[in-house]
């Protein structure tokens, strides 16, 4: 039987006394499009934020290719996160920065690229916009 790409097992998430996710079980398979539908405030964003690691469950576990995310080592965790893209509801762009600075930010902060290298990469990305 195929191992799910992402699996939620009895995941519960509470914010103070409010339970947003209550023992959720979910399986997401590779090469399939999975849609999560629900009313406003039903916990869709909270569920997605668990997948990208912005939130961690109070109970239960999240598995990536059968391996619990909470037990991943730092290298595995970074590799897992690098495979996931997430589009925020309001884009979450840095509105105090220019388009160039927005694209350059992760390059400046997470790579050792020099100014010229960053400029070249950013301009090549801007051409795709």
């Amino acid at each position: 039987m195929e191992t799910p790409l992402i699996e939620f097992r009895e995941v519960t998430k509470r914010f103070e006394e409010k339970t947003v996710l209550d023992k959720i079980n979910l399986e997401i398979y590779e090469n399939q499009i999975t849609t999560v539908i629900g009313k406003s405030g039903s916990g869709k964003s909270v569920l997605l934020k668990h997948i990208i690691g912005l939130l961690s469950p109070d109970e239960g576990s999240i598995l990536f290719r059968g391996k619990p995310v909470s037990k991943m080592k730092k290298g595995e965790w970074n590799e897992y996160r690098s495979k996931i893209s997430y589009m925020f509801q309001n884009n979450a762009l840095f509105d105090s920065m220019t388009v160039f600075e927005n694209i350059a930010l992760p390059l400046r902060q997470t790579t050792k690229l020099r100014k010229k290298g960053i400029e070249k990469k950013v301009m090549s990305r801007i051409e795709h916009l």
Binding site: S82, F88, A92, F94
Partner: protein
């Protein structure tokens, strides 16, 4: 009374029932508030420690310099203006008080000691809280509610390192410098009222300052300003960073509440810690 279950795992069942809680509302309230305060104090301490350690990571210098410009350089005008008038009013008030005792000649030393030991660090910290601290909370709070902090995380940029550490470092650099400006301008303010307006001898004013102000007074003032820097920057950043977790509001309102809480809490903590640090330094 209910019997205690043998199995430790069942201790959860020892929680008071709703009826028991309603019969002891006062103790329930006190206990809940105490746990909340202890929990928050622990969270603030961890927040500060993590952010402080990340000051020394690579690629921080540029961000720290930017924040020093914003927190320090841009606050200098208002700090010096307040320092000037504080010194002037001190000169005015102390002149009349000291004249009653026939000691108007010591005006310079009294103004200088009051400013260096007490008013300089405290008023500078309160002014920076009002100007830069509130802005810190609002900016970080808006970044939080618009999910920009979450976006940093998804880009593998540590928000604590990128947003909080430079602000704490900049506060630690800026507070003592601005306090020194405040003290200096305040002493000149005292000179304006004491010497130029009320006729105290110019030589006596500066001679008494040199004679009575010791290095321990100056270092004590700087120790206070460092403590205030840590407190104000941590409280303001913490309130903004966790603005989304406020239970009684969300969105823009949570940012406004967080900003108000940051300013009020910072000012209270400045005064409380001032007493504690002074009692240690005496």
């Amino acid at each position: 009374m209910r019997k205690r279950p043998k199995d430790d795992k069942l201790l959860i069942n020892m929680r008071p029932t709703t009826n028991e809680i309603s019969s002891l509302p006062f103790f329930h309230f006190i206990g809940k508030r105490t746990l909340y305060i202890i929990n928050n104090l622990g969270a603030v301490a961890i927040f500060f420690t993590l952010a402080f350690l990340k000051i020394f990571r690579p690629r921080q210098l540029k961000e720290i310099i930017q924040q020093v410009f914003y927190i320090g350089a841009r606050s200098s005008n208002i700090v010096m203006l307040v320092g000037l008038f504080t010194g002037m009013v001190l000169g005015l008030q102390l002149f009349y008080t000291l004249t009653k005792f026939g000691s108007a000649g010591v005006l310079g030393s009294v103004v200088a000691l009051t400013l260096i030991r007490e008013l300089g660090p405290v008023l500078t910290a309160i002014m920076i809280t009002a100007r830069a601290g509130s802005a810190m909370t609002a900016e970080i709070g808006i970044l939080r509610i618009s999910e920009q902090i979450d976006a940093l995380y998804t880009m593998r940029i540590d928000p604590l390192r990128y947003l909080i550490s430079p602000r704490i470092a900049a506060a630690i650099i800026s507070f003592p410098l601005l306090t020194a400006f405040f003290d200096l301008v305040g002493i000149l303010g005292g000179y304006v009222t004491g010497v130029l307006l009320l006729g105290v001898d110019k030589g006596a004013y500066f001679y008494r300052i040199r004679a009575y102000v010791e290095m321990a007074d100056i270092s004590g003032g700087f120790i206070k300003s460092l403590v205030f820097a840590g407190l104000v920057s941590t409280i303001c950043c913490y309130q903004g960073y966790f603005a989304h977790l406020l239970s009684d509001s969300h969105g823009a309102k949570s940012v406004s509440l967080a900003t108000t809480a940051a300013v009020v809490f910072s000012c209270v903590m400045i005064l409380v810690s001032d007493y504690v640090v002074t009692s240690f330094l005496m």
